[in-house]
């Protein structure tokens, strides 16, 4: 059998000592407990008034709903209070530093929110006649232009809904290009060990088999191993650059040339484009396709887990295979190229990936971000992101094991390991203690190539003072973990909840609320 290599074990509940008195309500001052809507609402209460009027008359056939649905309602004040209370149990960028490596939790400018809510963008139907939505198409076209320009590529598919969806878009274009060439027999996609889990999942979904490429001791792709594996069965490679160890893949151009010479394509996972935007164009590195997470590099909000947006830029070689729909400039304005008007230029398109045209609400935000930052600001974004990460790395490399500290500067994120912590202590204990210090933990146990990995991405929107406080907190926690401080094992102590029993949740899944009294 395969053995869990990451070192990540589920959290287990160990009773915390009750050191403070209980309250009648269970609340602790500003820390307010909140029941489920199913426990506080009922089927008669509503927070929405409708106009009086007759709703009789039915053309529902014999399908009228007879049984209750079981949906509780709350009045508006109760609703506002319920969700406000819930919100206060969340950590967020607005509260503090959120150094989640590979996730790019930077400040979300509020102008972006305001612009996305202009009725001209938010209250427009995707199937409205194109003459009535020229401004919306122009937004897509302008953003597409800047994405192509910033990456040095030929074209961009705007419709993918998220990063992983963008990966799928890129891989399907590669598949379509190979089939067009009569080389559908190329079935192998090479993926470095340090890749995001989505890479192999995506390649497998598209019918490719995935082969791992090892990393070198300095944290980069083993270029020699990769080149040795190239051949007539290899469809392409998926490489993240900067990679998930926070390092720039210096040999990417060389790798691209070799892959192209062997008849394959290069997919770049652009999750970390924020480190190089304005300084490096992936097109100059021989990349054929790359997704751009607008929610990372261009700071559309993460929203507690989406929605994302993952446009994919293409090289000239893959451009003919890009998915529909897309926006084209014509003499008079902009047109939407869909199935119906896809002319000869688009005959090789691999098809449609979503209903409608992609994440318009994210496009307006990302365009606002690009225009706000401008050429000088975008470049500064990359520089400050890299500067902040190197500052964290060098400030902590003597406190925590930093496996690639000698590999040169890092890019936008710094990686540490659990090497040197006391016996029985792991990354999760450091992470949970950071919660008590008022920080969101770093990414834990990823990438898999580093045991007990701690991946720290501070981003460019943190001040030096904020970084210094974080560095001090992490150093303090690390020293406690090295000394075997048992209080770390029961951290967090000051969060809305202590460690949660993930084993119980998975063994006996309770995924919907059921009235236990019933």
């Amino acid at each position: 059998m395969t053995i869990n290599q990451s070192g990540w074990k589920p959290t287990s509940p160990e009773a915390n000592e009750a050191s403070v008195p209980a309250t009648f309500t269970g609340n602790r001052a500003l820390m307010l407990e909140e029941k489920l809507i199913f426990e506080i609402g009922d089927s008669e209460t509503t927070g929405v008034d409708f106009a009086e009027g007759d709703v009789a008359g039915s053309r529902l056939g014999d399908l009228s709903r007879k049984d209750p649905i079981g949906l509780p309602g709350l009045s508006e004040p109760e609703t506002v209070r319920h969700y406000t209370r819930l919100s206060r149990q969340n950590y967020a960028i607005d509260l503090g530093l959120f150094p989640l490596g590979s996730c790019t939790m930077k400040h979300n400018p509020r102008l972006n929110e305001k612009m996305a809510r202009l009725p001209g963008f938010s209250d427009v139907h995707p199937l409205a006649p194109v003459d009535t939505v020229q401004g919306a198409l122009e937004v897509i076209h302008q953003l597409a232009h800047w994405l192509v320009t910033l990456t040095g590529m030929t074209s961009v598919a705007m419709s993918p809904k998220a990063g992983a969806h963008g990966e799928l878009c890129g891989i399907l274009a590669i598949k379509a290009a190979l089939e067009k060439r009569g080389e559908g027999h190329r079935k192998v996609i090479l993926v470095p060990e340090s890749a995001h889990g989505t890479n192999p999942a995506t390649a497998a979904f598209a019918g490719f088999s995935v082969e791992d490429i090892p990393a070198t001791a300095d944290g980069r792709v083993d270029t020699d191993a990769l080149k040795a594996r190239l051949g007539p069965d290899v469809a392409g490679v998926m490489i993240t650059n900067p990679n998930t160890c926070g390092l720039f893949e210096r040999d990417l151009k060389d790798i691209s040339d070799a892959v192209h010479a062997a008849g394959g394509y290069v997919y770049c996972d652009g999750a970390n484009f924020n480190a190089i935007v304005g300084r490096v164009r992936p097109g100059d590195l021989g990349v054929d396709a790359m997704h751009i997470n607008l929610h990372k590099t261009f700071s559309t909000p993460h929203g507690g887990g989406g929605p994302g947006s993952g446009p994919v830029v293409f090289s000239e070689a893959l451009t003919p295979f890009a998915p529909l729909p897309f926006v084209e400039k014509t003499g008079e304005g902009f047109r939407l190229v869909e199935e119906e008007n896809a002319d000869d230029h688009h005959a090789d398109s691999f098809g449609r990936m979503v209903a409608f045209h992609g994440q318009m609400g994210m496009f307006t935000r990302a365009l606002t971000y690009i225009l706000s930052h401008g050429a000088d600001g975008l470049r500064q974004v990359a520089e400050d992101a890299v500067l902040n990460a190197n500052y964290v790395l060098r400030s902590l490399e003597n406190t925590l094991d930093a496996p690639f500290a000698k590999s040169g500067p890092c890019m936008h994120e710094a990686i540490f390991s659990d090497e040197g912590l006391a016996e029985g202590f792991s990354t999760i204990d450091v992470a949970k203690a950071l919660i008590d210090e008022g920080f969101h933990p770093m990414t834990m146990y990823f990438p898999l190539v580093v045991h007990g990995a701690m991946l720290v991405e501070p981003t460019e929107t943190e001040s030096k003072a904020a970084l210094d406080q974080f560095i001090g907190a992490l150093a303090s926690v690390a020293e406690r973990a090295k000394a075997g401080d048992p209080s770390l094992k029961t951290a967090p102590h000051f969060a809305p909840r202590a460690r949660l029993d993930e084993t119980l949740a998975a063994r006996k899944p309770v995924l919907v609320w059921k009235d236990k009294a019933a």
Partner: protein
């Protein structure tokens, strides 16, 4: 550069930090980038940073070029519906603790998002009539495709029958994906009749069928009892997948789950999310208990913490890509969290009584509109059983009529010519959606304008 509003580091900070790092300049930090790949000059054509005011002017000018749905009589549907969203919804989703949080991977400090997702899953499951629901998908079209893949894994068969009443974009997405996964899809084009194609689908099910995918209400707005279809599927060990693009309908009609559908997916945009020119939206996905291990996407589950307090965590994550990698049920790595929150808040505000009332108004308005528009000379009502959307046969090509009406400031509906280019038999069809946002005056304006244009 001069100071910029989003970047807090000062020049002296940068100098001090470089000295801690031991680098002479920031360029030294990019030393691993080959010289040939370094972009030294400015970004072509992009001006330098701009003030809020300047950017707002630019974006507002673009926004003004669009016809705003709320400014005109508006009757578009076909997978995206305009409903009134209470003011508190947008206020609450803009709380920074929701807006600027990440996926709840550290549950001790993400109970807000997690409890909301647990409530969302329960609301969705009850609405769809399924045992469970996940924490949302990208949108309805991708959820629909994921359901087909799920049926393949469960039945170990790969022939899917797609109703001709399924949204053509959803069909296109499924066709794109099927090319690469080896699924066989049987598809068709709708016919402008009052009857759905349920009988034809029942006849088409055979031992190789993995699933039947049926939209409810369908693309023309028709509704039909799915019970016989579910029975026919189960007799051949196939699954019934129902697709709901207008969840408000389920406030008025029986849910697909009640009619024994195995997997129900939907587009949740109608509640809380808004039109937004097509995205972001929120995919709904529920199924019977026995299939949860084959579900894609995230689940939130109930548990307890070390002190015995109830809490919530993401669970069953071994199905997902970050653990299973190439063996995952899907490559999906996100949900549509903030849209799911908007959906859930809107649903909480409505409650059972509000949703039923809203659905009743939608249906009543649609009945009124259908009666009035059927009186326009040359216009025929195709389906007289519907929820809030129905199809008209205009007796002439509908697409130019829609354009002409748009020039007159009326957004009349979606022409089937737009959705089914090249299908002459559908060219005269106009799908009209009528929600609670439509007034009697709007209906009269549309009817009059249609009379003039068709005359």
């Amino acid at each position: 550069m001069e100071r910029m509003r989003y970047l807090p580091l000062t020049s002296s900070d940068r100098a001090e930090m470089l000295s801690v790092i031991g680098a002479g300049s920031v360029d030294d930090l990019f030393v691993d980038v080959p010289e040939s790949a370094r972009l030294s000059g400015p970004i072509e054509g992009l001006p330098n940073h701009a003030s809020e005011l300047a950017v707002e002017r630019h974006m507002t000018a673009l926004a003004r070029k669009n016809m705003v749905a709320g400014d005109v009589p508006f009757f578009l549907g076909c997978g995206a519906y305009r409903h009134h969203v209470p003011a508190s919804v947008d206020h609450l989703i803009q709380r920074g603790e929701f807006l600027t949080a990440y996926t709840p991977y550290q549950p001790e400090i993400a109970q807000g998002t997690l409890q909301m997702l647990f409530e969302f899953q329960t609301q969705v499951a009850r609405l769809l009539g399924t045992d469970v629901a996940n924490a949302s998908m990208y949108d309805g079209s991708t959820a629909c495709w994921e359901a087909i893949g799920m049926a393949r894994r469960i039945t170990k068969k790969s022939k899917a029958i797609l109703s001709s009443g399924l949204h053509p974009h959803y069909v296109s997405v499924a066709k794109t994906m099927a090319k690469y996964t080896g699924d066989t899809l049987e598809t068709g084009t709708p016919v402008l009749t009052a009857e759905t194609d349920i009988d034809q689908m029942i006849a088409a099910i055979d031992a190789d069928t993995s699933c039947v995918v049926v939209q409810y209400p369908d693309i023309l707005g028709r509704i039909a009892d799915l019970t016989p279809l579910a029975e026919a599927c189960h007799a051949k060990k196939a699954l019934l997948i129902a697709v709901v693009t207008e969840p408000v309908a389920l406030g008025a009609v029986r849910s697909p789950g009640e009619m024994d559908a195995d997997i129900v997916v939907g587009e949740g945009q109608s509640l809380g999310v808004g039109l937004q020119f097509g995205g972001p939206y929120v995919g709904l996905m529920g199924c019977k208990d026995k299939y949860i291990r084959q579900m894609p996407g995230r689940f939130c589950g109930e548990t307890v913490d070390a002190d015995g307090k109830r809490g919530f965590v993401l669970t069953l994550s071994t199905r997902e890509q970050h653990i299973r990698r190439e063996k995952a049920t899907s490559n999906i790595c996100t949900n549509s969290g903030l849209c799911a929150l908007a959906f859930s808040i809107h649903m909480t505000l409505l409650g059972e009584a509000g949703l039923r009332r809203m659905a009743g108004i939608n249906h009543a308005n649609a009945c009124r509109a259908a009666d009035r528009l059927a009186k326009v000379p040359g216009v025929k009502l195709v389906n007289d059983v519907f929820f809030n959307e129905f199809t008209l046969d205009l007796g002439r090509e509908a697409r130019p009529v829609v354009r002409t009406l748009a020039e007159r400031g009326v957004l009349a509906g979606v022409s089937l010519g737009r959705l089914y280019p090249g299908e002459d038999a559908l060219a005269n069809g106009l799908v009209v959606a009528v929600t609670e946002t439509v007034t009697a005056e709007d209906i009269e304006t549309l009817a009059k304008a249609l009379e003039e244009v068709l005359a």
